[in-house]
Each structure stands twice: as C-alpha cells, then as structure tokens.
C-alpha cells in the first residue's frame, strides 16, 4: 500500500489533477463524525452530498427572490422567473439539448420516466405492442412500463445480461420487432456500475424506427452527457444524485416527440386558455409542468451543475475511475469478497458480497466505523435474482472521496470477517 500516492497530497498526484482536499472543504457535511469516526460517505449512488454553494443559492433564492413564476407583474416574480428559466438554460447547455423547450422540469428521474410511460403510452402504445427494457434496470425504469402494460395489454421484453453485468446485445437485437414501440434502458446501472453502449442501442432502435429513453440518473453525475451526440429521444436525470436538492429532476425530450405527446397532468401553467367548453395547452416545455414548480429545486440544480462544470465532468470521470480501479483491486483482493458487476465499461460503483454474510450485517458493522454504504437490493431486484444473491453491499464513489477512505472500507471489511469468522 505504501507505494500508493496520497491523493490529498498538495502536490496533486492524482492523475486527474483534482485538488481533493479543497473540494472536500466545499462540502460541510464531510466534516462531521459518525460514532466518533470521520464520516466516510460511500452511498453516492443513493444520493450525493451538497456543496455549500448549492445550500447558499437556495437560501439566497428565499431571502432575495422568492415569488411565484410566470405569473406576476411585480419585481420579485420577474426575478424568480429569471432564476427558474435561467436554470433551464443551464440544464440545456449541460445536456447539449437543441433548445430550452426540450428541458422539462420534474420531481425527479422517476417522475420523468413516469411522464413518458404515461404520455407516450397514451398516444402510441396499444394491446400487443412491445416495450423493451433490460434486466439491470432500477425499479423506476421497470414499474412505470409494467403499469403501462397492465393498462394497455402491451408486452414487456427484457434484454438479458451476462455474468459480468453487461447487456447481451445480440439478444437485444432479436427482441426488436415491428411491434416494438419504445426502448427504455439505463445509461449507467445503479446496482452494477455498468456503462451501457447507449449509442449502439440507439442506432439499432432507430434503424427500426423505435425511439429510446435513457435513464441517466446514475450517468449525469459522473460523466459528460451530450444528448445530441448520443442521439437519445428522452433522457431522465435526478438533481439530488448530482449535488442538487431532492425532489427535483429533468426530462429531456426531442421536440419532435414532445410535440406529439399529450399533457399528463392538468393545472396552472400548463394551459394557454381554459373554458368549460375547450381548454388549450401551453407550448413546450410548459405543457408538461402543471402547478407551481419546485423553483428552489431548479435554482439548486443549476448551481450544482455550474459547480460540477467548474471542476470539469471529464476530470470528475477520470478521478472517479482512479478511485474505482483502486477499490476494485484492494477490496476485490480481500478473501471471501465476490464482486458483482465486472463490466469492461464501469462507473464508480463497487457492488460485492462477502462469503455468505448478509449485506445488512456488513452494512451495520461498517456503519459503526462511520462508513456509509448501501446494503440490499438497490431497487434492482431482478439484478440480484440474476446473480443469485439476496442483495449486495454497494460502495459508490464521488469526486470528493479519497483512497484513504477506501482503505478505511478495507479495514471495515476485515472487521466483518472477524465478527463472522
């Protein structure tokens, strides 16, 4: 271990050139202790921590700009509207969408997927039609489609995965048929860390005239996402997984699709005119944003995006990869550890089991050392079934984590082996 350079070294010896100790000082919660140990936060795939700039932006919004948006003629209403719409422009640039009207604000990635399942489903999906998802999906990219199938009599087709946790693309190609209406897959798997070959998936679907939705909740915080380069038709992201507040997310949709979809919730802001005879709907993106929105959510996410881009998504990806490689080697070499998810292309997620010790027992023992991991099925039960385990321990890394923290995880696992010797 002594040959591993300390990444907090002020000379900056991590290959991505991040000043990690400076970054850590941006996150107030990283200073706290848990049970007398420094907090080691490895549950980033569940939710990320928030830098002070995001907390300050939300406070500043409420102390300086709070009003309802798109309604008032007064000063504050205009200010709030500017902040809210300014956030849309930030997200548009972050995803490289063609236009801000393609950026719909939602309650989270889950709601973004439900929006498409309901609205696209209502317009295009009929009995006997087929929807393709994959074995490695989060429940939020399974259940909305199952609900749609129950409502319409459509059929769910599932792309299988191999023992490394990669999609079996030949099987995917066989599943595409003239009855396929949409393909919905994760960009990055929350349970396995697999980065899917989304460009290939999309090109193949498009060759059949089928649109593709990508669940980007685990991708957007960790790698550069360019929706036009990828070519996806819909892309869902979650604010709280990328340093923003909870309860907020984004649905990107290509204009040509969004224009064809009916509204999914009714209320204020989504209408042009209302009468009891005939109501007409607002233009994009407002057609899909009923009611007073989560304004400070938009302000917080935009601030988080600016913060992440200030560091640089490419550098974040490179540094997190360094952490993943280090953890894979160190944790993977512990006796009894079985890594679940060994794809060639991975984001910084390490899922594993230790002998036959149940993940919850491991989680409790690590917690006593101040180490926060996720233990269980990660809202991806079909993945656990595929690998024949009740659940896994998942350590998911962010750019503010360090190799020293991974060393602490390694020591914690030795403690697990002692207790369950």
């Amino acid at each position: 271990m002594s040959s591993v350079p300390k990444i907090t070294d002020p000379t900056g010896t991590n290959s991505a050139g991040l000043d990690v100790s400076k970054i850590r000082s941006d996150f107030p919660i990283l200073n706290r202790e848990v049970y007398g140990h420094p907090l080691v936060y490895f549950d980033n795939a569940a939710t990320s921590q928030k830098p002070k700039v995001v907390l300050d932006a939300i406070e500043n919004y409420y102390t300086q700009a709070n009003a309802n948006v798109h309604r008032g003629v007064h000063f504050l209403s205009q200010l709030a509207t500017n902040e809210y719409e300014g956030a849309r422009a930030v997200v548009k640039k972050f995803l490289n969408a063609a236009d801000t009207s393609e950026i719909i604000f939602t309650r989270g990635a889950t709601e973004s997927i439900n929006l498409v399942a309901q609205s696209f489903g209502q317009r295009f999906v009929r009995e006997g039609d087929e929807i393709i998802i994959s074995t490695m999906e989060h429940h939020s990219n399974i259940v909305p489609w199952q609900l749609l199938c129950e409502r319409t009599g459509a059929i769910l087709k599932v792309i299988p995965i191999n023992d490394d946790g990669e999609l079996i693309l030949e099987e995917y190609e066989k599943l595409l048929s003239p009855r396929t209406k949409i393909v919905a897959v994760g960009h990055v798997s929350n349970a396995l860390g697999t980065v899917n070959p989304v460009k290939h998936i999309i090109e193949t679907a498009h060759a059949h005239g089928v649109p593709v939705l990508l669940d980007g909740a685990q991708a957007a915080p960790h790698l550069k996402v360019d929706v036009r380069d990828i070519g996806c038709d819909f892309y869902a992201i979650s604010s709280h997984k990328m340093c923003g507040p909870t309860g907020f997310g984004v649905l990107y949709g290509k204009t040509e699709w969004l224009e064809q979809l009916p509204p999914w919730q009714g209320g204020g802001d989504m209408i042009a005119t209302v009468s009891f005879e005939k109501t007409t709907y607002n233009v994009l993106p407002y057609k899909f944003e009923a009611g007073t929105p989560h304004i400070e959510g938009a302000v917080g996410l935009a601030t988080a995006i600016n913060y992440l881009e200030g560091i640089g998504m490419d550098r974040i990806a490179a540094y997190e990869h360094e952490l993943l490689d280090y953890a894979t080697e160190l944790i993977g070499s512990i006796r009894g550890v079985r890594l679940i998810g060994t794809a060639r292309e991975k984001a910084a997620v390490l899922s594993f089991t230790v002998n036959d010790v149940h993940p919850h027992d491991i989680g409790t023992i690590l917690d006593q050392e101040g180490i926060a991991v996720r233990a269980g099925h990660h809202c991806a039960q079909p993945v656990m079934t595929r690998f024949g385990v009740p659940g896994t321990v998942r350590a998911s890394f962010a750019f503010y984590n360090t190799k020293e923290e991974i060393d602490a995880l390694s020591s914690g696992l030795e403690r697990v082996l002692e207790v369950f010797s």
Binding site: V357, H358, D361, T364, G376, H377, M384, P390
Partner: protein
C-alpha cells in the same frame, strides 16, 4: 455509542450459522409467510398445535444474521407454549427491541431471548429481529394473507 458486540453476540452468530428448527413441517396446521419488502428478508413459519399448545414449530427462509437468529431462537422459545404464552412473549420481545422494556429491570418471561436487547441500539435492525415474531403473531391470529413488516 452502540456496541457491535451487543448485537452480534456469540449465541446469535451460532443460531445464524446453525438455525434450529430450520425445516418444513408437512401438513402443518398453520403455514404463514413473512416478508420484509425493504431488505427482501423472507420466511415461512410452520406451526402444529395440540389443543391450545404449540406442539411443533419450524421455519425456512433467507435473511440477515439477526433475522435468522431471531427466528431460530423464537422457535425454540415458543415450542410447548400455549397461544396465550406465545402472544405474551411476542409482546415482551417487541417492547424489548424497541427499548420500551429493559429485561434487566422489569419482570418478564424472555429468558434467553433477552440476548436481543442490544438490537434497541440499532433502530435500522429492529425489523430484522421482529419479522419472525410478527409472522408468528399473524399465524396465531389466523390471518389469511402473508405478513409484512411495513
């Protein structure tokens, strides 16, 4: 601060490794499923009665060390007890792991089960220890559906 050794005592680890009464009772009088949807722990509890007395009890299932040991020790504790006595044990066990009954200071019938009192320091694990007991109570009450900790 909670003490890990209070939770993972040798007796609990032993019951986890070698759960007692871990089998199926063919033609059981009652068969009850228990499920913890948050963590996926599940068990099936089998009961055989002789009049009002639990003549035999066994379980099968999968779960963490705490849930397996709790189920194992529960079966050992309630075998030969009446329904009423088993319900009293449920009540006392439940209050103990929630920190409402300190077995060292209040009269109780828990005996060896008081080894689970350490669970009260680990709120996230209370459901693990109580899954089998909730399942038992549902079985005794004759509830038709499977029982869930949620």
């Amino acid at each position: 601060m909670a003490d890990l050794s209070e939770l993972y005592q040798q007796v609990i680890l032993d019951h986890n490794r070698k759960p007692r009464n871990f089998r199926v009772i063919e033609n059981a009088d009652r068969k009850q499923e228990g499920f913890n949807p948050l963590c996926g722990d599940q068990l099936v509890l089998y009961l055989e009665f002789e009049g009002d007395v639990i003549k035999d009890v066994a379980f099968q299932g999968s779960g963490c060390a705490i849930s397996k040991a709790a189920a194992s020790m529960m079966t050992a504790a309630v075998k030969g007890k009446t329904r009423e006595e088993a319900n009293v044990l449920f009540d006392e066990f439940h209050r103990m792991i929630k920190g409402e009954l300190d077995p060292e200071n209040l009269p109780n019938h828990l005996g060896r089960l008081s080894i689970f009192s350490g669970v009260r320091e680990f709120p996230a694990r209370v459901k693990c220890a109580s899954l089998s007991w909730h399942t038992l109570r549902a079985a005794l009450a004759g509830s038709p559906a499977s029982v869930s900790t949620e």
